[in-house]
Symmetry: C3
Subunit: 274 residues, 3 copies
């Protein structure tokens, strides 16, 4: 059940019971585990792992009218690790070093950057943008028209909504700026802007914009303090902005944020001088 129009690198490992559709491209060292369905026009880049029974290039709504699959390409970046039973629609694009848990759904027109992690059971509704080094934990729901910048952390059971007067067709997405953190069980209302380095405490219902470095909590969420006031209770040390105290999986993992950002700026300056 592998289409003749598929281009599959010889080094790729394709386990039993995999279905591969038309115009699929599978690059070198890709591993596709048991029972995956790779529908038409999917491009899986070098070194990626696709977990058992994942469905890539899933049908959009236009399929169901005439049971003919239209052209809706999907690109999965290099060295991605997609665990079992993910469903990723056509017309989406996922960057390199992507990592997902089990049973994740990503719908059409999702544009996802590099080094993004999405946890088990998360549901990305499509028509959204997710930057680089964004971490979504388990069971996060990203509504359409959401815009998530780089280095954002979102924890379990958080929902980004989009309809100010449900039901309606006037969707307004949530915008989240870099380094913001949204803790477990929070709901962010439509059109809300969450600024850089802010922290939404667990269980917050966010009905107003959250300004830079603000910590908010409650239902409705209210400003509690500046993020720099939060200490590690065991060590008494400051924790935030977190990029100065946490580096696992980040591009500054080998040194620290300041060294890394300075070296980037020096490199940029050098390039500008060329």
């Amino acid at each position: 059940m592998i289409s003749k129009t598929a281009i599959i690198d010889k080094s790729a490992i394709i386990k039993d019971d995999v279905i591969i559709g038309e115009n699929v491209i599978i690059e070198d060292n890709v591993y596709i585990d048991y029972g995956c369905i790779i529908r038409d026009n999917v491009h899986i880049k070098s070194g990626s792992f696709i977990g058992a029974r994942s469905i890539l290039g899933e049908y959009l709504m236009d399929f169901y009218k005439d049971k003919v699959n239209k052209v809706h390409p999907l690109v999965i970046g290099k060295n991605s690790l997609i665990r079992t039973e993910n469903i990723i629609y056509g017309d989406s694009e996922i960057g390199d070093n992507f990592q997902s848990g089990h049973k994740v759904t990503i719908r059409e027109n999702a544009k996802i950057g590099n080094s993004v992690k999405i946890g088990t059971l998360s549901d990305i509704q499509g028509y959204c943008e997710i930057g680089n080094y964004v971490s979504l934990h388990s069971n996060v729901h990203i509504g359409q028209k959401s815009k998530i910048n780089d280095y954002v952390w979102i924890f379990p059971y958080v929902v980004l909504t989009n309809d100010p007067t449900p039901p309606s067709d006037n969707l307004i997405g949530v915008t989240i700026e870099s380094f913001a953190i949204i803790a477990t069980g929070s709901v962010v209302l439509p059109g809300i802007h969450i600024y850089q380095d802010s922290l939404i405490a667990a269980g917050s219902i966010v009905t107003k914009d959250v300004l830079e470095k603000n910590v908010v909590a409650g239902n409705p969420a209210k400003v509690i303090c500046n993020i720099e006031k939060i200490k590690n209770k065991q060590t008494g040390e400051s924790v935030y902005p977190w990029r100065f105290t946490f580096k696992r999986g980040m591009p500054w993992e080998e040194s620290d944020y300041e060294t890394w950002i300075n070296s980037l700026e020096i490199r940029k300056a050098g390039e500008n001088n060329d």
Copy 2:
């Protein structure tokens, strides 16, 4: 692996690796995608699509004692669109034009009307009634003994509960009247009655009945205003009751609610005169 007692219309398309049990009826123009398990006594009506690896007619508890499947029929109405990996138990009944997302679970003794939509990962616990034109978004949890009338909207991560003194065996369901809206992340406590045209704001913990046209919010939820006071912030226009301002997918889609309801009443009067 297709039982000889199954009756399958010639126009039906059955993809590879589908299992079809005893006394299954598959009507014309049904499409069953790769790897579905249709257990015994399932009836799929004309024009329906069953997404890859869905399991229909799933075993009830009585199967596990002796590994013998008892008679627990399941009916799926006409022109339904069930996406991948749904699990729908026996002893349930689903109307026409049903639409579901991925990985939905519907347990036994669920009675679901026509033109109902249920989003990805929603979990219908069975022993419940859902009317016509009800829309449940992703990840909605409907507890046993819930009663949902027509034209109700329920948004992600809403839970309808049923046990006033957990753990107990005295379950009391939630009742939701027509045109009510329950926004994201709300929990409705056991036995609560939500009346027509009301709106439960996101993140509400609903501990008291909600009266007609009331808007409630908070933990615990309190009355905020009458629903007619809510305006579209961009246009300044009234939005609610929503049936006068929204029509996509509704039976009044071709005209408007008033024209439609009047024509219905005229037709009824004519029938009564016959």
Copy 3:
């Protein structure tokens, strides 16, 4: 696709399309439904049922580096009933009479006692301990380092968190003592200790320890009353501590809690005298 190193009792029923890896042990009267993947070093004890397409012994992170499965044993106790599409990792241990809903995920280093129930879509993040007779309803999220004692009840959409200053690597788990109840949609913050016989009301955001027999509610959760004050509204009778009023599925099901606990103590005393 059954490994030659697997030891499978003759009375076991293995349905079609099941994959069984190296060093798997399947005891008598086990039933493995269609399409399961049993990876290496899984031991399924006598009388257990494994639902269609479940994946047991799922790969840990170390697999993905070289695509070689290391030794990470998984034990499933006797007479367990695992419904469809569960994913249970290696290095975990599940006791006897386990029961799970659909699409449950249990990651590595989860130590689960006897007679535990885990509902549909629940996500056990591993590195945690769950005692005996614990009931987790649908869609419960148990963070790493959680410690749940015997006879605890946790209801839908509850999250036990673990990171006091997210993102960080200093995880501190939640501890829940016996007979505690956590109602729907509550979030328990990192390091919180919930003591015996307490009740967390629906939608609580628990930011402080909850003392014995306390009832808490709200965001943030505050003490409401002593659990003994709660009555069944219909009968006017006291309900809590629930072990005196509820027995379905409990070891005292045949008599009552007091009779059972007394008989246990008499038996123990007898053994000590031997």
